[in-house]
Amino acid sequence: MTEPGPILITERPPTGTARPYTFPRVVRKTVAGGNVVAAHLPGHNLAVAVLLLDGGAGREPVGREGLSGVLAKALEEGTTRRDSTAYALALEGLGTELSIASDWDAFQVSVQVQVDRLPAAVELLAEAVRTPRLDPADITRVRDDEVTALRMYWANPGPRADAALRADLFGADQRPGRPMDGDPESVAAVTVDDVTSFHADWLTRLGTLLVVGDLDRIDLDELGTTAFAGASGAAEPPGPPLDVPVRTERRIILVDRPGSVQSTLRLGHPAPHRAHPDYVPMTLAATVLGGAFTSRLNHLIREVRGYTYGIRSEFGHSRRFGRFVVSSGVQTAVTAPALVDAIGEITRTRDAGVTESELAVARAWRAGQLSVELQTPRAIASALATLVVHDLPDDYHATLRERLLSTDEPTVSAAAATHLHPQGLTLVIEGDAALIRDELVASGLGELVDAAG
């Protein structure tokens, strides 16, 4: 075949002139006592509206984990005005569905729809959130369906490992130490009263309406009036950050999954909450360690060793707590060597910090992702939710970009030294215990205990 040399341009092209990055214009207003936060995205024919309520998993009582998820399902079982089928047909006839998401800090109900249909869709959204039928028989049925759905989910590798990690990090008697979405047992314990009370406590408050779309074609006052009708009650403070100690010694928790052809790894330790001043350098350190494709963990364990399809590390933060976690699935036969490699890279990053060239990739990637990811109404709505939940200013994303680009190597290396604790990791391994137990014990990476249950 032809030699490729002359037909290809050998020299890497120079970077062109960057156009300035701008986050869409943010509009905040008070309507009918509630807050509307909107972003102008001209030219899009879809719009998104989100009713953001402080009724996330963090508000659930211990022993009732998954309660907000049951409530989410119950909201679609009819309203005081119409039954579930009529409700579904009305909403889907507009070309939309309710999207309901509950995380640690918020309960979000949203619609995405053609902009001229947004008022009708928000009316239906508010009807479900503010005036659900909540018939006891329906609640019991969707509760049972949720138990089944979680049992299906828990048959996959991962949920049991993550539950074991959470319990070990935060304590099984604490809400953060239990699975965010609950488990089959905790959801089975949810009662009709739990659901109606949780609704009364958290979903009848005003909350915040987020709107993203072509604001020249959207009447925010009309939408706000609809969303806040009949609602009352101010926001409740989230409570102070939790003080969670890091273990003094590493330990291994083995979750048995007989016949598993991979070992699912969840390695982690507690970390600061979202508002910690080191948020940006921590994010960059985790990107160098295990965020980008060329990160240390993925390079060594996938690209050099071939042990896995992928491995990543990140700091996850909510308003009151956070954790550092490494996630992967590795071939059963190389479970212990993969752990040794992973701990080695975490330790190296803590001890020696990051290099300027690695940091350059991490900075540019995280900053560039803001413009790459924040294109669509749905993505912008998610960014607005971040502003509201974490009480951040309108120029937060633009400022974040500048901070990502200007954080220097000593600052990131210092964050790695402060916030990575390889000696205090909990190493959860979900795999075929009969095949890996001896090897894990012999590895000397930490005391091995079997997961409860």
């Binding site: 089928t85 996959n156 990739v361």
Partner: protein, 432 residues
């Protein structure tokens, strides 16, 4: 109702070496999407080489003559970009979305691996990525309940020798046997400019992209004799249904009812898309209303129906549900069959309107990002010969009539043409 499903400009050119270039300018964000569709997929794989097109996709990220190993990912992410690639039976595509000042970089990287991969390909790289792909197979297909459903459905739907008979991920035995020379030949044969469509959407003008494409791709040598995949357009009906029942470590019985329909791209497949949405999307769909709500045979989150958008043979319709506690696979299957067979008896205008409204939102959602647009344009250019055909998709769906839906059901969804796959839990104690 929109006149067009694609209200952005589309400009195209073809370089002398056959590379088709498609540009769709939109200056609303300083972001540009670059997307290459290569007209090669697992349908081109001969016996004994299953999984090769996909394993090859991995090799494309491991360096080329002017790009050192690991540099491809580092340069794109280090420019703030996202990148990935996918392989399916029809085609292989590579895409990145970057801040637009890095457009030339993306084109240079794509040209270098189109024209200069083979000299950089080493045994060490192949061995490493073979292990990565085997772990991908374990993670996505072997280690999750029902994970191998797609691998089992394809041979039920398409006979041996048909280009869709085997799954893209391939077999472990074939992956283990993969040798370097085969991959070198694979690149030489298929990764040619005249076998690809380059699409750029977003913050760039057509003139700028055409000039850059000429600069970076213009001297690449076309491949005159690209062997076509086996022709799969006609799949002889056997006249009798097929079924497979698998007893496995799964938490509940699950049933898949599947049919061969029409190839993606024409009015027949547009009808199928509306039919599948009417049948299985949303709480107002027939399956949800009758099986999850009404008869309460199926778990609510488990019901669904969808067409798989394949273009070179009658594409599959897959209808599926998972049994609620205490419901047997037989009861669930009987319920699914009743709903599916009932389509031939007619559908209402309200059902049709609901499906079209959901499809309309879904279409605009996909086109809300420049990467979504680039992929749609690349697909229509590659599979239908003209990126502008993308504008026909939404009007095509909206033009579907109730009569067309029932006619399709009567013609193609007959019980004797059905392939049924059932999963049963190993222990039946679960159903208590």
């Amino acid at each position: 109702m929109p006149e067009t499903g694609y209200p952005w400009p589309i400009e195209t050119t073809r370089l002398d070496n056959g590379l088709r270039v498609v540009v769709s300018e939109d200056r609303s964000a300083p972001v540009v999407a670059v997307n290459l569709w290569y007209d090669v997929g697992s349908r081109h794989e001969p016996d004994g080489q299953t999984g090769f097109a996909h394993l090859f996709e991995h090799l494309m990220f491991e360096g080329s003559v002017n790009v050192a190993k690991t540099e491809h990912m580092k340069l794109v992410q280090g420019s703030g970009g996202s990148l990935n690639a996918t392989t399916n039976p029809d085609r292989t595509n590579y895409f990145e979305t970057l801040p637009s000042e890095h457009l030339a970089l993306a084109l240079w990287l794509e040209a270098d691996r189109m024209g200069g991969l083979v000299p950089a390909l080493t045994q060490e790289t192949l061995d490493n990525q073979r292990e990565v792909v085997k772990n991908e197979r374990r993670q996505r297909y072997e280690n999750v309940p029902y994970g191998d459903a797609w691998l089992r459905l394809l041979p039920l739907l398409y006979p041996p020798g048909h280009p869709y008979h085997h799954a893209t991920i391939g077999s472990m035995a074939d992956l283990n046997a993969a040798d370097l020379a085969t991959f070198q030949a694979f690149h030489t044969t298929y990764y040619a400019p005249n076998n690809a469509v380059l699409t750029v959407a977003g913050d760039a003008s057509a003139d700028e992209v055409f000039a850059l494409a000429e600069r970076y791709f213009g001297k690449l040598v076309p491949q005159p004799d690209i062997p076509p995949a086996p022709d799969g357009r006609v799949v002889p009906a056997t006249g009798s249904p097929v079924r497979e029942t698998v007893t496995a470590d799964v938490p509940a019985p699950r049933v898949y009812l599947t049919h061969r329909t029409h190839p993606f791209g024409g009015p027949g497949y547009d009808t199928l898309t509306v039919l599948a949405t009417l049948l299985g999307s949303g709480r107002g769909s027939r399956l949800y209303q009758r099986l999850a709500d009404g008869a309460r045979l199926a778990q609510p989150d488990s019901v669904g129906a969808f067409g798989v958008d394949l273009a070179y043979a009658p594409a599959p319709l897959i209808v599926t549900a998972t049994a609620r506690d205490g419901v047997t696979a037989e009861q669930l299957e009987a319920g699914l069959v009743e709903v599916l067979d009932g389509l031939a008896d007619g559908v209402t205008g309200a059902e049709l309107d609901r499906a079209k409204a959901l499809l309309t939102t879904g279409w605009w959602r996909q086109l809300a990002s420049v990467d979504g647009r680039a992929d749609i344009l690349g697909r229509h250019a590659t599979q239908l010969g003209d990126p502008a055909r993308a504008a026909d998709r939404l009007p095509g769906w909206l033009a579907v009539t109730a009569e067309q839906v029932t006619a399709l059901a009567a013609e193609l969804l007959r019980p004797e043409d059905r392939a049924t796959l059932t999963y049963l839990p190993e222990t039946q104690e679960e159903a208590s």
